[in-house]
C-alpha cells in the first residue's frame, strides 16, 4: 500500500469542506438555536396562537410522557413542531438544517444552525405540505391538499372544544388519563388527523437534532445513550472493532479485516448518556420484524410524517 496514505480526514481536507459549503449553502442569517440551547428559542419561527401552543404542549407530553426521564414537553417538542408550521415566516425557511457538521463532535462551528435555502421546487412542495393547496390552481393539479397548519389548528381546537364541553376545563388542565382518552378518540376525525401527524412529528422533535427546536438539552439522546451526530470526529478503529463492554466470546471472534497497523482514525472518546458503560438494559420482547437502515430510510421518507402511512408501509395497518 501507499505509505503516504492518510487514514482520516486531514485538517486541510476538513477545512476545505467547511469553507466550501456555507458559501453557497447558507445565504441567510441563522435562525436556529446553537446546540439546542434555550438561548436560541426566540429565533425560532412561531405559528400557533399561544393558547393552542399550550394545547400542543400537553399533547406532545402524552405522546412521549415524562417518567424517570423528561417527556416531550421538557424536550420542547411543541416548539419544534410550531417552528415547522411557521417555517415560511422566516428567511431562509425553517426546513432543512445546514451542513456538514454540528459542533457536537469536534467541529469548531455549528453548521446545522445555519439553515439551508430551499430552491423554488422544494419551497412549493413544502408550502403545499404546510399551508395546503388553499384553492390555488397551481397547487391543485391532483386535487385539494389539506396543510399541516390546518390539521394542527383544527385538531387542537377540537380537543379544547371537547375538553370544555365534556369536562368544563381546558385540555392542558385535565388529568393525564382524561387527556389520553380524548386524544385517542379515533372516531373524531379532527383528532385522529392530528394524532396521525403529531406522533411522528413528536418523535422527530424529541429524537432529532436540537437545531430544529426540540431535543432540548439532548434529552432524547441521553437516556437512550445515543451518541448523536459524530462527524467530523467519527469513531476510532478500536471503537469500531471492539465492544465498550466486552462480551464473553470476544476472544473467539474473527479479527477485523482491516490492517491493524493502520493508524487510528480518531482519538478514543468515552460514551456519554445515562445508559452508557455497563448499565444493564431493561428486558423486552423482540419486535415482530427485523429493521434495516436502508429500507427504513425509504419507508420513513415515503410515510411523509403520517403514522397511518408508516404503519401501512411496515405492515402493521392493513386498513
Amino acid at each position: 500500500m501507499d505509505p503516504t496514505r492518510t487514514t482520516s480526514a486531514t485538517r486541510r481536507q476538513l477545512l476545505q469542506l467547511a469553507l466550501a459549503t456555507p458559501a453557497l449553502a447558507a445565504c441567510g442569517r441563522s435562525t436556529a438555536p446553537p446546540g439546542g440551547e434555550a438561548a436560541g428559542a426566540t429565533a425560532l419561527p412561531r405559528h400557533l396562537p399561544a393558547p393552542l401552543r399550550a394545547t400542543l404542549e400537553a399533547v406532545v407530553e402524552r405522546l412521549i410522557p415524562g417518567d424517570s426521564d423528561p417527556g416531550a414537553a421538557a424536550a420542547q417538542a411543541a416548539r419544534a413542531i410550531d417552528a415547522l408550521l411557521g417555517a415560511f415566516s422566516v428567511e431562509p425557511p425553517f426546513l432543512f438544517a445546514g451542513a456538514p457538521f454540528s459542533d457536537r463532535a469536534g467541529a469548531a462551528r455549528n453548521d446545522f444552525a445555519r439553515f439551508l435555502t430551499p430552491d423554488p421546487y422544494e419551497q412549493l412542495g413544502w408550502r403545499l405540505r404546510i399551508e395546503g393547496s388553499q384553492g390555488r390552481p397551481e397547487r391543485e393539479f391532483n386535487g385539494p391538499v389539506t396543510g399541516l397548519q390546518t390539521i394542527y389548528r383544527e385538531g387542537l381546537e377540537r380537543l379544547e372544544a371537547r375538553a370544555a364541553a365534556e369536562y368544563g376545563q381546558s385540555y392542558p388542565a385535565l388529568p393525564a388519563p382524561v387527556q389520553d382518552q380524548l386524544l385517542n378518540d379515533g372516531a373524531d376525525a379532527a383528532i385522529a388527523a392530528l394524532l396521525d401527524v403529531a406522533f411522528p412529528a413528536t418523535l422527530e422533535a424529541y429524537y432529532g437534532p436540537p437545531e430544529y427546536g426540540g431535543n432540548a438539552a439532548l434529552v432524547g439522546w441521553d437516556f437512550t445513550a445515543y451518541p448523536g451526530d459524530v462527524q467530523p470526529r467519527g469513531w476510532s478503529d478500536e471503537q469500531v472493532v471492539n465492544a465498550d463492554n466486552p462480551g464473553p466470546f470476544d476472544a473467539l471472534l474473527p479479527p477485523s479485516y482491516h490492517d491493524p497497523a493502520r493508524r487510528s482514525a480518531a482519538p478514543h472518546r468515552p460514551l456519554t448518556g445515562r445508559h452508557a458503560g455497563g448499565m444493564p438494559l431493561p428486558p423486552a420482547s423482540p419486535p415482530a420484524q427485523a429493521p434495516s437502515m436502508e429500507l427504513l430510510a425509504g419507508v420513513i421518507a415515503a410515510a411523509g410524517g403520517s403514522l397511518r402511512a408508516l404503519r401501512r408501509l411496515l405492515g402493521s395497518d392493513h386498513a
Partner: protein
C-alpha cells in the same frame, strides 16, 4: 465534434458523460433534481462542499428526493390491478432520489460484481412459468474490463485474497482493490463468527468508500450513517465526485438542473430521434436538437419518458413496438434479519455493513426446491452487521404498531432494534414478469401537468419460494451467533404483495437480440430508434441479487465507449 444529450445524472448518466467527454464529445446532461454539492463544476471533487450531514430529520423530510406531492408515483399490486383498482398508493414509495449525481449521493456504495452465471440464467436453468427469464445479450467477459476500470477509478476497498472460492471463480479478471478493508464492526464480527459456525464464508464487503485517502478525499471514519445520508466528509466515491464533476470541469459537459424532460422527438417516420423537449426550472419549454440521446433516468423514469414520447410513428411510446417498454420491472426483495443480545453491540458504530456472505447466492434446485413449487431458485448476497440510527428506531417501533406514550418510550429505553441487534439483509433476485410494469397513470399528474408513472408489481412464486427456503437458513445462522439470545427474520415476499421500499431497480427496457421480446440491443440502442441508447439499469434482462451500482456503471461505460469509439 459530436454531441450528445444524457437524460439523468446518476451513475449511468455521469459515467457516460465522463466517457464521451474524454473522447472529445460535447455533452448536455439534463437532471430533474438540484445540485447539493456546493462548488460542483467549479472546483475539484476533493474540494466540494456538501449540503448533507448526519441529520436524520433531513432524510425524513425527503431531502434530495422528488417531493411526494409534486412528483408522486402511484402503485398497486397485481391482484389489485386485476380487480380493477387504479392505484392503492401514491407518493414517494419506491422512488429513487433526484439530484445532480442521483441516488448515489446517499447510497451505501456496496460494490460486488454480478457473477458469470448471471448472464445466461435461461440457458443454464430453464424457464419459469409466468416469468420472462432471459439470457443477457452480453456475457460476464464483456463487462469484466469495465468492472476493473470502475473499481480502480472510483476507489473500492476490499481484499481479493479473501474472496470465497466460488465468488472468485464466478468473478474472474481481477486486480487487487485499490484500498484495503475498513475496520470491521464489532456486531459484524459477531455475525461473522455465527456464519462460520454454520459453514459460511464471511469476507470484507467491497465498497466504494475510502479506507485510506484516495483521489484527494479522506478516509471514512466509520460514523455509520451511510445509506440515506450524503457523506459529510467526502469519503465515498460516487457518480458525482468520481465522474460528473471532473467531466464538467473538463469543459465539455454541462449539467442543467431542474430540467424535466417531457418527450423525445423523432423524425416523422420515427426512425431517428431529433432532440428532446424539457421544462426548465422556471417552467419554460425548451428544445434541444441532437444526434445522440442517452437515457439514464433510472428504470421507472426511463420507461415513463419513453411512454410520454408516443407519437404518430410510435403510437404506444418510443421504442415500444413490441409492447415491452415498462414491463419486466424488477425490485430486489430483502429478507431482513437480526440477532438480539442482552447488551449493547454497537451495530451502528462502523461503516454501514462491513461484511458480505455469498453462500446463499445459489442457484438451488432439487426436491426441496420443487416441493416449494418452482424448478429452481436464485438467491443473493447477505449484507452483514448493520445498525439503526435513533429516529429510524423510533419510527420503526411506531410503524410496528407500538402505541404512543409509555409503551413507545419503554421500547426506546430497552432499544432492542438499535443497541441490542446485529442486523443482516439478504438481497434476493427478482424474476422479470410481463405484468410487473410501469405505465402512465390515467389520472394523476405531476406539478408540471404530466401523467405520473404507475407501478404495478407483485413477487413471483420464485421469490416466495426463495424467501421460504432461505429464511430458516438465515435464522439458524443468527441463532449460532455468539451471545445471541434470540433472532428474527422477516422475508419480504412472504409479508405481502407490494414492493418493499428498495432503491434497487431494474428492467422496463430490456436488452436483447430479438426486437419482439426486447426494447434495445446489446449497446442499449432502441430497436425502433437506434440513435437513442438506454444506458441505465432499465436494460438489465434479469436482476441478480447483488447491489447493482457497480454493474450499472460498468455497463454504461461499456456502451458509452462503444458510442465514442465505433460511433455505435
Amino acid at each position: 465534434m459530436p454531441e450528445a444529450i444524457i437524460i439523468g445524472s446518476g451513475p449511468a448518466g455521469s459515467i457516460s458523460a465522463w466517457e464521451l467527454a474524454r473522447a472529445g464529445w460535447t455533452v448536455t446532461v439534463l437532471e430533474r433534481g438540484r445540485n447539493l454539492r456546493p462548488g460542483f463544476g467549479e472546483r475539484p471533487s476533493a474540494e466540494l462542499g456538501t449540503l448533507y450531514s448526519s441529520d436524520e430529520l433531513k432524510g425524513a423530510r425527503q431531502f434530495g428526493f422528488p417531493h411526494p406531492l409534486l412528483e408522486p408515483i402511484t402503485g398497486r399490486t397485481r391482484a389489485e390491478a386485476e380487480a380493477g383498482t387504479a392505484r392503492s398508493v401514491q407518493g414517494l414509495h419506491i422512488q429513487l432520489g433526484s439530484a445532480v449525481g442521483g441516488t448515489a449521493l446517499h447510497y451505501n456504495a456496496k460494490f460486488p460484481r454480478f457473477w458469470q452465471q448471471d448472464f445466461h440464467t435461461l440457458s443454464a436453468l430453464g424457464p419459469q412459468a409466468g416469468a420472462q427469464v432471459a439470457d443477457w445479450p452480453i456475457g460476464y467477459a464483456d463487462l469484466a474490463p469495465f468492472y476493473d476500470e470502475v473499481e480502480q477509478h472510483i476507489g473500492v476497498q476490499g481484499d481479493i485474497t479473501r474472496l470465497p472460492a466460488r465468488t472468485a471463480e464466478q468473478t474472474p479478471g481481477r486486480r487487487q482493490y485499490p484500498m484495503p478493508p475498513n475496520p470491521t464492526g464489532y456486531a459484524a464480527r459477531l455475525l461473522a463468527a455465527g456464519a462460520e459456525r454454520v459453514g459460511y464464508t464471511p469476507y470484507p464487503y467491497p465498497a466504494a468508500v475510502n479506507s485510506t485517502g484516495f483521489d484527494g478525499r479522506p478516509a471514512c471514519n466509520s460514523c455509520g450513517l451511510c445509506s440515506g445520508f450524503g457523506c459529510p466528509i467526502n469519503a465515498r466515491g460516487d457518480a458525482l465526485v468520481s465522474y460528473l464533476n471532473p467531466a464538467v470541469i473538463s469543459g465539455r459537459v454541462r449539467v442543467i438542473e431542474r430540467a424535466l424532460v417531457t418527450r423525445i422527438e423523432t423524425r416523422a417516420d420515427g426512425g431517428r430521434a431529433t432532440g428532446v423537449r424539457y421544462l426548465d426550472a422556471e417552467g419554460r419549454e425548451q428544445r434541444l436538437a441532437v444526434e445522440k440521446i442517452l437515457l439514464a433516468a433510472s428504470p421507472i423514469s426511463t420507461a415513463r419518458l419513453l411512454l410520454l414520447s408516443a407519437s404518430a410513428a410510435h403510437p404506444r411510446g418510443l421504442g415500444n413496438r413490441s409492447d415491452q417498454v415498462g414491463r419486466n420491472l424488477m425490485f430486489h426483495y430483502f429478507t431482513l434479519g437480526g440477532a438480539f443480545f442482552e447488551r449493547d453491540v454497537q451495530s451502528l458504530r462502523a461503516q454501514s455493513t462491513t461484511v458480505e456472505v455469498d453462500d446463499l447466492v445459489g442457484p438451488f434446485s432439487g426436491p426441496a426446491i420443487q416441493a416449494l413449487g418452482v424448478p429452481w431458485i436464485k438467491g443473493g448476497l447477505v449484507q452483514v452487521g448493520s445498525g439503526l440510527p435513533i429516529l429510524a428506531e423510533a419510527f420503526f417501533y411506531a410503524g410496528l404498531g407500538i402505541p404512543h406514550g409509555s409503551a413507545h418510550k419503554q421500547a426506546m429505553r430497552a432499544s432492542l432494534a438499535r443497541r441490542r441487534i446485529a442486523g443482516i439483509q439478504f438481497v434476493g433476485e427478482d424474476l422479470p414478469q410481463a405484468g410487473n410494469r410501469v405505465d402512465l397513470d390515467p389520472e394523476r399528474r405531476d406539478w408540471r401537468g404530466l401523467p405520473v408513472a404507475r407501478v404495478t408489481w407483485s413477487p413471483h412464486a420464485h421469490e416466495r419460494a426463495a424467501a421460504q427456503y432461505t429464511a430458516p437458513l438465515l435464522e439458524a445462522w443468527l441463532l449460532a451467533t455468539p451471545g445471541a439470545v434470540g433472532a428474527v427474520v422477516t422475508p419480504g415476499p412472504l409479508l405481502g404483495d407490494a414492493p418493499q421500499n428498495t432503491a434497487h431497480h431494474a428492467g422496463t427496457a430490456r436488452m436483447g437480440e430479438d426486437p419482439q421480446t426486447s426494447v434495445c440491443d446489446a449497446l442499449g440502442r432502441l430497436h425502433d430508434c437506434p440513435n437513442v441508447h438506454v444506458v441505465d439499469a432499465s436494460s438489465f434482462p434479469t436482476f441478480p441479487g447483488f447491489n447493482p451500482t457497480l454493474t450499472i456503471l460498468a455497463n454504461a461505460q461499456r456502451i458509452a465507449r462503444a458510442i465514442a469509439q465505433q460511433g455505435a
